[in-house]
């Protein structure tokens, strides 16, 4: 585990300094009426050079050392920067579950966390669920029970379904329905998804 900085991040310190000094310069040389616009400009341009912070993440067993903006969500990092587009964006507000991934084994909405907050964590996405060419039993069960149509919510449903069993929330159809309600399937393949989860649960395979 890496030591956590008590101090603000090193980039941030520099950024703050530069921001302030540039602003001071701007104040000194700019006539009053345009000050605000100029300040805004300098603020942004100076910031741009120093706005990234280092982050280390373990994604699907692979270690990543990254430099990212703190405002980058885990979801956008996966999709837009790492090419891991299996994790889907369906709402971006934690209201659909398409972006579900596992962080240290727990299912979460990757759209509602900044990647920088997951420093040092182990992240599993749909791309990391199968064992090489061998599909995870839940993936097999989704195919067999036709637990999808368009396929867009499917990675999130599968990640959530695996967690649902691991958590011990798959003891009945109704319990599965309740604990899978954070994953919306607009195509409406719900009953097939429940069947898939039941089969994996009852199959006794390790999930």
């Amino acid at each position: 585990m890496n030591p956590e900085p008590e101090q603000p991040n090193h980039d941030e310190a520099r950024r703050t300094f530069l921001k302030q000094s540039s602003l001071l310069t701007a104040f000194a040389f700019t006539p009053g009426p345009v000050l605000q616009a100029a300040a805004a400009e300098i603020d942004e341009k100076v910031a741009s050079a120093f706005e990234k912070v280092p982050v280390r993440l373990d994604i699907n067993g692979q270690k990543h050392k990254l430099s990212i903006e703190p405002r980058t969500t885990l979801l956008d990092l996966l999709r837009e920067q790492l090419g891991l587009t299996g994790t889907k964006k369906g709402c971006d507000y934690g209201q659909c579950g398409a972006c579900t991934v596992h962080i240290d084994g727990k299912r979460v909405n990757s759209c509602l966390t900044f990647a920088v907050m997951q420093e040092g964590k182990e992240i599993t996405t749909i791309e990391g669920l199968a064992n090489g060419d061998k599909l995870h039993p839940m993936q097999e069960a989704f195919i067999k029970h036709d637990g999808f149509q368009c396929g867009y919510c499917t990675p999130g449903q599968i990640m959530s379904a695996v967690a649902c069993i691991r958590e011990g929330h798959a003891d009945s159809d109704d319990e599965i329905r309740e604990y899978m309600s954070g994953n919306i399937c607009r195509c409406g393949a719900y009953a097939n998804i429940v069947s898939a989860i039941q089969e994996v649960k009852n199959g006794g395979q390790k999930v």
Partner: protein
Amino acid sequence: MNQFQYVRPTKQKAAIDALAKDANAQIIAGGTNLIDLMKRGVMAPQKLVDINKLPLNKIERDGSNTRIGALALNGVVAEDKLVLEKHPLLAQALNAGASAQLRNMATVGGNMLQRTRCHYFYDTALPCNKREPGSGCGALEGFNRMHAIFGFSDKCIAVHPSDMSVALVALDATVLVSGPKGDRRIPFIDFHRLPGDTPQKDTNLEPGELITAVDIPDAPFTKNVHYLKVRERASYAFALVSVAAALNIENNTIKDARLAMGGVAHKPWRLTEAEKSLVGKPATEETFRQAAEVAMRGAKAFKYNQYKLKLAPNSIVQALKTAAAVA
């Protein structure tokens, strides 16, 4: 979303310092509400203080209290043995909220600090006194289906969206906070505010204060409890009305009761008078109806939430019936 400074202190004091130093700083823990609001431009902190490294996630006994750390995850609390045994109402309320994924992210402290789901608060193109004091209340004459029937002002008719808080206010919880001026304890019932003329303030937290834990006192509400949440679909939706009901019944007589409602006010709405009306009476539907009537005194509705004047008392009756029926 604007850029912001990001700091991750490991000591409580450093967190409070970072918070106190900068009026534009916000704490981030689970992030499930704050990030949502930042994406929509409703909140735009210049600095985020990530407190996830603070050791505030324990659930433990403290004398005759159960102490739940502010960073305990909703999903963890809902399944904690101690909580299930001593405060099953809290577990029910937590499980009625959000989704399994969100409960794995959201913390107890963050849940209390959820902002309202009022449509006008959430859309920066519409007026809202809570988001932008002085801009007007969009909901007052607008689409106020989800809005308050108690304790509102002409500045704000929003409701607090938390389920957990409805259980905590019913269970006489206390919020432990730590700030630049030291530590203090806030009774849960005083933690959230009514809007009055300053709806921008949701709670009585002072600037720079950090929630560290919640204490729940032991009480004999371990069996006949029920959290009823009425919503527009079967799960994963905010409450139209919710009811936290806890009864201590001996020989079919109600010895003591706790009752609170969600979805009806700017804060979780404790129904003390209705509780009193239940004590000493038989646990019958007639008793529950009378209590519901007491509970509804002073309620007033707007154009689109008239139904709450009926749904709220009905829900109280149903919640009490279900609680009483627990064998």
